[in-house]
Amino acid sequence: MAGAFWCIVEDDRQGNPKKVMAESLGEASRLAAQASGQAEAVWLTDKATEAGLDQLAEWGAKKVWLVESAALAPYRAEVWTPVLAELAQKESPQAILGVVSARQRELLARLAARLGAGLSADSVALAMDGGTLVATRPVYAGKLLAKMSWAKTPWMVTLRPNVFKAGDAQAGAKATVERPSPSIPGEAAKFVERREEASTGLPELTEAEVVVSGGRGLKGPENFVILEALAKEIGAAVGASRAAVDAGWRPHRFQIGQTGRTISPKLYLGFGISGAIQHLAGMRTSKIICAINKDPEAPIFKIADYGIVGDLFEVAPKLTEEFKKLLKS
């Protein structure tokens, strides 16, 4: 329907939508209620499950547009973009919401170019204002916020994970499932292989609700095990400052900050991180910030909710112990 707020589904490649979809469908439902529209999910996949469809409905999708075809796997932009564009041109949704993920940040950019629409990437707030959408997004790696508006629909947005509130799950809710059959073009890019990272057993940095991060104060790569022990206890991802990455202590994919990942976890714990401006830019939208540093003058204490001035080599193991006690009880 024309008032539809579309949410492009991010899945685990096994037929299940990722949890971040609860956030985008929650936000879409909230906005659609103010714009006489409804939240709808658009799912391109080679494999959907009934449970996955129900999950989307419970998170707020009133309708699911499902395009299920082996030709869609693995994701390739030049295949997915025309499929989505054909659907969008036919159905004229009011908004198209994606999530910030490896595939969707590329896919929505290409789709916006194909539709001639504006895209507000990596947005952290959305609001209806006088019948039109206004998005808020961090710029200069979060040193400032920009309010964005569109010249016309569809309003296209990608949402930063962990920022938007999921709606209340509607147990037993069912969505209408539409199975359109748009033409699926052949691919240009040939898939060669997927190389899995050695699993740390810890969540992905940008998706994690809790992040434990280490800086120069860790003194060497071998000491990250102290933070990993803590992270395992509380189900956190482990990140690092640019200083630690540039020293070669951690691979770059773990870097938080202006030339690394931007994160917004519910809880951030920084160990031996001074808080250079480019690091703060990457994590200052975390809900609760804790800093543990020997130097009481470290800039990170200026934005921390809780700080401990002390030696991380003493404090971190104690914290691990205390969390263990708490989570057992």
């Binding site: 932009a77 030049e78 950019a109 040193k143 890019a189 040939k190 060669v192 699993s199 104690k318 708490l326």
Partner: protein, 260 residues
């Protein structure tokens, strides 16, 4: 093999960015040190390495922006790019991502390179969309956030490793194609003195919207206002020796902050 590298000039990462007093939609540019966006430097470096490995070819740096952008293009020439193209026109003063992408795509059509490289995003507006949009407008395959690449001997395909959640996906893209660089793929070289001197003699060609046959179009997306970040509530230091402080921190995280 001709390679175009799309670069953007941005404020240095150490800049304390402030909103302009005169225009609430713009930043105060006084005193800013401008640099080539770090991810774009990885792209320039990779282009130079491809050329060196093949023993022939041309690397062309392209950027859209005001006069000061020449300095950044000059830096790319000093690194070793052969020539540069500067998209310089008042018509692009308010260019959004899509307008920029259209202009870049038009230049690429004229230049007809085998490969276009750019950074995964510019570190000013952090939109991270231009590379993907340019490839869409050209109808090319693209690979975002690549960590590694190799061009085949015939110069007809590039194999890339793109960073995705939990690993790398390896794809072979037929050329022409576009790829965006992620940090970690290389260590950009510093320009040598010889490079800096040589750069002064290399060509930077100015191109206007009319040269590309582009009609003026309003932006699809505009900045309504820039805002400073809301201040964070004042925090507190938890006193005591390590054991006591840790215990107290865990207590407040559970009871006050409800974060655990």
């Amino acid at each position: 093999m001709k390679i175009l590298v799309l670069i953007k000039q941005v404020p240095d990462t150490a800049t304390q960015v402030k909103i302009s007093g005169a225009d609430p939609k713009a930043i105060d540019t006084a005193g800013i040190t401008w640099i080539v966006s770090p991810y774009d430097e990885f792209a320039v470096e990779e282009a130079l390495r491809i050329k060196e490995k093949r023993g022939q070819g041309e690397v062309v740096a392209v950027s859209l922006g005001p006069d000061r952008v020449k300095e950044s293009l000059r830096s790319c020439l000093a690194m070793g790019a052969d020539r540069a193209i500067h998209l310089l026109d008042p018509a692009w003063a308010a260019a959004d991502t899509l307008t920029t992408s259209r202009a870049l795509a038009a230049v690429i059509k004229q230049e007809a390179p085998a490969l276009v490289l750019c950074g995964r995003q510019a570190i000013d507006d952090d939109m991270g969309a231009v590379g993907a949009q340019v490839s869409e407008l050209l109808g090319w395959p693209c690979a975002s956030w690549i960590m590694e690449e190799s061009v085949n001997e015939g110069g007809t395909a590039i194999t890339v490793g793109r960073q995705v959640e939990g690993g790398l996906e390896i794809f072979e893209l037929p050329l022409p194609a576009l790829a965006s660089a992620q940090k970690g793929m290389n260590e950009p070289r510093y320009p040598t003195l010889k490079g800096i001197m040589g750069a002064k003699k290399k060509e930077i060609k100015d191109v206007k919207a009319a040269d590309l046959g582009l009609a003026a179009e309003g932006p699809a997306l505009s900045v309504v206002a820039l805002e400073a970040l809301p201040p964070r509530p004042p925090g507190r230091i938890i006193p005591g020796e390590a054991g006591d402080a840790a215990k107290e921190l865990v207590r407040v995280l559970r009871e006050e902050a409800k974060a655990i």
